[in-house]
């Protein structure tokens, strides 16, 4: 199966309908998050391009799971000091993930994994960035306008950082404490019960003692972030966590079999 390289190719592809649906879903998310507003192109400002990236997502057995489209800004044309400044964003260390799972075992906790849908669109941009309207979705009668970006769209250099700032703010406002040893580990209490969190960009591992708490945690987050949660224990398709009588295990799976 061929993945189209841009909107035009998707439009001409034999799987046109599937790709167009995927692109429309992506556009819906972008609209929902008020990712940009249309403005007159400001004189002398750089207008960044974009591209629709199409991907066939496979499940752990290598079967087609879904058709995905993602609009990405062409961040390579951003200029330091004008369209971006700081770009660092932390990710959790392997040691920390294992330490968390280890402690979860010791405290007899449950482990859940969550994934934030279109995570980056929650990040708020501080810089003024203008982008062309995406191919195929140029608004009628407004062809000359450009997008003034409000949210950290995928592809911008500062996007991971913007997203992390928002997530961090949110977790801290929920009473979670950021670890001094690893910026991506958070600890806190809900209903007096211990909750441990590890953040890997938009993947979050949660350890908690009661399953009811996980429902509460999910409820307190989705208003802000749209979360997808897995109740079977898969972490980034790399680990399958299995729970047998208070034993947590980590076993490599899909990665290995593929390579």
């Amino acid at each position: 199966m061929v993945e189209p390289r841009n909107f035009q190719e998707a439009f001409k592809s034999p799987e046109r309908e599937k790709w167009m649906n995927a692109a429309e879903t992506e556009m819906q998310s972008l609209r929902q998050h008020n990712t940009w507003k249309l403005v007159e192109p400001p004189p002398g400002k750089r207008i960044i391009g974009n591209r629709m990236v199409f991907k066939v997502k496979l499940d752990e057995n290598g079967l087609v799971e879904r058709y995905k489209a993602r609009l990405v800004a062409q961040g390579f044309s951003q200029v330091f000091g004008e369209e971006y400044n700081q770009v660092f964003a932390p990710v959790v260390r392997w040691e920390s993930v294992r330490a968390l799972i280890n402690m979860a075992t010791q405290f007899n906790m449950q482990i859940h994994q969550m994934d934030v849908n279109v995570a980056f669109l929650n990040g708020i941009l501080k810089e003024d960035i203008y982008m062309k309207q995406p191919d195929g979705f140029v608004e009628k009668g407004k062809e000359n306008l450009v997008c003034k970006l409000e949210r950290s769209i995928y592809g911008l250099k500062q996007s991971p950082r913007c997203w992390n700032e928002i997530l961090d703010e949110h977790l801290q406002s929920m009473g979670f404490q950021k670890s001094a040893a690893d910026e991506c580990i958070y600890t806190g209490k809900m209903n007096g019960d211990l909750v441990l969190l590890a953040v890997y960009v938009d993947d979050i591992i949660v350890a908690l003692r009661k399953s009811k708490l996980s429902i509460r945690l999910k409820k307190s987050l989705p208003n802000v972030f749209q979360l997808r949660t897995w109740d079977h224990y898969i972490i980034s398709l790399v680990f399958v966590l299995f729970k047998i009588n208070m034993v947590f295990g980590l076993v490599k799976t899909s990665m290995l079999e593929k390579s």
Partner: protein, 171 residues
């Protein structure tokens, strides 16, 4: 235009480097047993030859045979953090650097591990092992802080096991 041989060589190098990339990921994620071998192989990334490919294939065969190995933490099995440290002596005969490593365990399985070529050229096995202890101690101190934040109670002093008598006496 590049000639065919040159292109093949570049391609060969690319495949080698990408294999190393995959192996590093596996070694860092759940396979401390691969750590040393992969770390060593990674130092040949820039000019891999048929010898290195032989070694690479050996690692891959080992992986295939042990594909189901993983890490399993068990409650109430040695909840105390412990670590083992070791080093070779002049593993790299060109620079006379030694390679050392450590693994730390808790609840019956490893939490952290590392294999690293030492920055200095140790003058004796005692020195090499002492430097190994230093690397281990550094990371263990960090893990202890992390565990404390993850609500580990009453941590006792972490024992780092070491088999070189001279370096034990030094420390």
């Amino acid at each position: 235009m590049r000639n065919l041989n040159e292109l093949l060589k570049i391609f060969d190098k690319m495949v080698y480097q990408s294999a190393i990339g995959s192996l590093l990921y596996i070694a860092n994620a759940t396979r401390p047993d691969l750590s040393q071998a992969v770390n060593r192989m990674a130092s040949y990334c820039n000019e891999p030859t048929s010898v290195h490919w032989q070694m690479m294939k050996r690692i891959l065969r080992y992986l295939k045979g042990t594909i189901n190995l993983g890490i399993m933490y068990q409650r109430d099995i040695n909840p105390e953090l412990i670590a083992y440290s070791d080093s070779d002596y002049v593993g790299d005969i060109d620079t006379r650097q030694s390679t050392s490593g450590y693994v730390s365990l808790k609840n019956g399985a490893p939490i952290a591990w590392k294999s690293k070529k030492q920055e200095i050229a140790a003058q004796s096995t005692a020195e090499a092992e002492y430097v190994a202890l230093f690397y281990a101690t550094q990371d263990v101190a960090w893990i202890r802080n992390l565990l404390k934040e993850l609500r580990e109670k009453d941590q006792r002093a972490t024992i780092i096991f070491e088999d070189n008598q001279a370096s034990i006496k030094i420390s």
